[in-house]
Symmetry: D2
Subunit: 271 residues, 4 copies
């Protein structure tokens, strides 16, 4: 399935403001970025680096005035989301070194306080994928998905107390529950085709059966159409933009995901 | 100043238990590890790796029964702690890529909620080192240092609400306040000569004037005698031991820091 | 200056053949990638990773038959190449850890055998930038730039003995000479506007005065128009494609670099 | 098997000389460092870092005069070296990202020129471990092991032309041959109990059957008694010391490897 994603951000900047952006999808086994466009207006010098999670991050200082960011991509994504009922729990001692960190509590996923609750939720499920699927299902039934219900990230504890939340909130609680039973889990930020209302999206992945699998408690069922742009332990690591100094809020945040743009059609104006 | 540090831990293990230890001091500009001893009893195969913060971590599975860890070191440390009143704030865009992460909120340092409070505390102080020194002093006067007052890590918000805490608690609040005014800050775990009662210690470092400087609100004044064993964003990253599965508590945790052990004296039995 | 770069490769594959490609320019202080296009025909699953030099690498297995790679980019590059006559030599102990490796000899830059020769060439030049400029100039006068004179990479010793070479050959010898006097140097591969005959290009960078500067002995003078796609110690690290198994040679390798493609013009069909 | 290793180096330094040392064994699945001693005389500030191969490196500037380095360790090593006849060749596309680099040619292993020769040598051997064992055996029969025959590292081509060499030379040729048939290979530097004459030792490892296995063409058969201190692509990466500026040669290099030092005996003076 080919998808065209597009994200436009605009800010009214008062004083020179350092930014870090994390908006670039990367090619991986489940998605291929065939075209990408990235435009800052006005143009400013940018330093790009790869963070500890493998994300491509852009650092720059936005000058006073209207500052806009345009990013678009044409991405081939998997036609169906990989699922693996029965995939086993990976013993801690078998986890790759760089997966270990996804077992630790983090800013918005206080997994150190969710062990008992997680154990109760997954009672009876086979260790591994089925436990995570049970957690995902528990989230669907217990935490109401309410787009627009919060601007700032909430922690798993806050989400659990509140009983409703945005996509990121459900993912944070899911992650905290997974880690609570020693299953590595991470936040994914990106796009989802068909999302209503359209916006950037967040879901989570759990490491079972020797690899990462996607879970999304905001959907009744997982369909294809996901494009990942960033990975991290939680929203603190993987904000689409991190801004320093006096807070600046976007005056525009427009997201589009459309099907199409077969690669052949782009040949003539591509080179 | 030469110091001999020693830490003994013992656990009664019920089921095979995966551990990650982080107890090895590393040589750096301010300390030199001349001798080191590390013993697990019984002996088990160990895999060592360097984590994302530069810490040497040991992974292994402890077998059922009494399991003990003995680690000792002879370390040359600086005769006085570096201080730099007046060292300037480093503009975000000048920070090294790998320091940026220390500006983000983390599990026990919810810096995203401490901006206003930090700004109020440092009012009037010169941006940079002096702001951190003001925060350190505010901690001394506002949060009572009460060794033994908590077993589990508390977050900066919890510490602030409570008004007292262990060394780690004061450090967490200090870190959250620094990050709240865009100064990178990290937790340091290690040893302190002369600590009463003797135990492992925690303090924090802030990045100002182009390098990291140590701060410790549990002391009325900073004297030499620190040996660092680990660095991280907060206690979630830099636990001396992380254990997975059913909780296991140490039946023994003995820490010693003595002066002495000049390097010449160790020659004869060293080889 | 806006440049549109384009590189088309095609191979006739006999047996499934693993490839690693390194063709993606990255945004940095001196270039900004506003649009990028990347197409494999037929489409195959790709795994992308960042190598130890910061390059984005794509791994995949090309199936039997005609296999083609199309990559294009619109890049804003600096209007003039930074130069810094007089920039000082950086003392070894002041070099960043990750620059140290660029002092070591490597496959095609046997710098361990060029100390005496380099010392002689730079006699009288001020330590640092001026030494490298002297080496660059010596290369211009001593090694004839002969496009098409070799297919396989040659080492610095071979180039010096031969007295002529392609762009990569001159760069290898320049790097070996720089390292011979303890100046870190690395190979850069990419595009150069106006190159005749048009092809991919290679030049080198030296670390003096606290940063990397570009040098290119194939030009009588450095003009703007460079787009970097990869960095490494020499051509072994930074091949545009590395292929494993029975050798496969491109049946097509077409490179284009054109001026233009102002970012405004791309807006309408960009989203 | 418990081993006590010891290495003493001494230099007569004329001008302040930057050094990088790589002499610290690390704990891994096959060895455990129970005690370690490290002494520089006179004492100088040291910066330690982990290089791209996982080695612990120490940077410092040696002052004029006699400068000595003493390092000793008590290490538990495996009682027998792992062997795996029949272990299969790992397809390139299955290799971990960080193993890929060990397929590339490097300073002293011009594997790009050993494909035909390697193919001929391993003719008939099962792909994987058996091919490497065949190469190891070919080295035993074709290249005479002659301790002390060279001071400077030689490349695989030079070794092959010469027909004899030190341990490092045989390893370089073995590595080039392995890479020539797309088997990742790396140099290991360390200690070997029972070596005559005693000195630091070098051997190589090949990645087959999903992990690294040791090979050593200088022994007629592999016995236990190896302690690794460093890994790299070849001797350029993994010199026990790298020194910059006017060459300085050790006036003393003394190596000892003894059996013994059971961990219990060290308890009383260890803490």
């Amino acid at each position: 399935m080919w998808l065209r994603t597009c994200c436009d951000l605009a800010f009214d900047i008062g004083v020179p403001t350092p930014f870090v952006l994390m908006l670039r999808p990367r090619s991986g086994a489940q998605q291929w970025v065939a075209r990408e466009e990235y435009r800052l207006t006005p143009y400013v010098p940018v330093h790009e680096f790869t963070d500890g999670f493998g994300n491509l991050c852009q650092r720059f200082v936005a000058p006073p005035g209207r500052f806009s960011v345009h990013t678009a991509a044409e991405v081939k994504t998997a036609d169906s989301i990989d699922r693996a009922p029965g995939a086993p729990f990976v013993e801690i001692q078998q986890l790759p070194d760089d997966v270990l960190g996804y077992l630790l509590p983090s800013r918005y996923c206080e997994s150190d306080r969710f062990g008992a609750m997680a154990t109760e939720i997954v009672a009876g499920a086979a260790p591994g994928y089925d436990q995570v699927a049970t957690i995902e299902n528990w989230l669907r039934n217990s935490i109401r998905f309410l787009p627009g219900s919060s601007d700032q990230p909430l922690s798993a504890s806050e989400v659990e107390a509140r009983g409703f939340g945005v996509c990121r909130d459900l993912a944070h609680l899911g992650i905290a529950l997974c880690r609570g039973i020693s299953i590595p889990a991470r936040l994914v930020v990106g796009y989802l085709h068909g999302l209503e209302p359209m916006d950037l999206h967040a879901w989570f992945e759990a490491y079972v059966g020797g690899r990462w699998y996607a879970f999304d408690a905001t959907r009744s069922e997982l369909h294809a159409g996901y494009v990942s742009t960033g990975y991290g332990r939680d929203a603190a690591d993987v904000a689409i933009y991190t801004q320093f100094g006096p807070p600046v809020y976007p005056v525009l945040q427009k997201v589009e995901v459309r099907r199409g743009a077969a690669p052949q059609e782009t040949t003539s104006n591509g080179s």
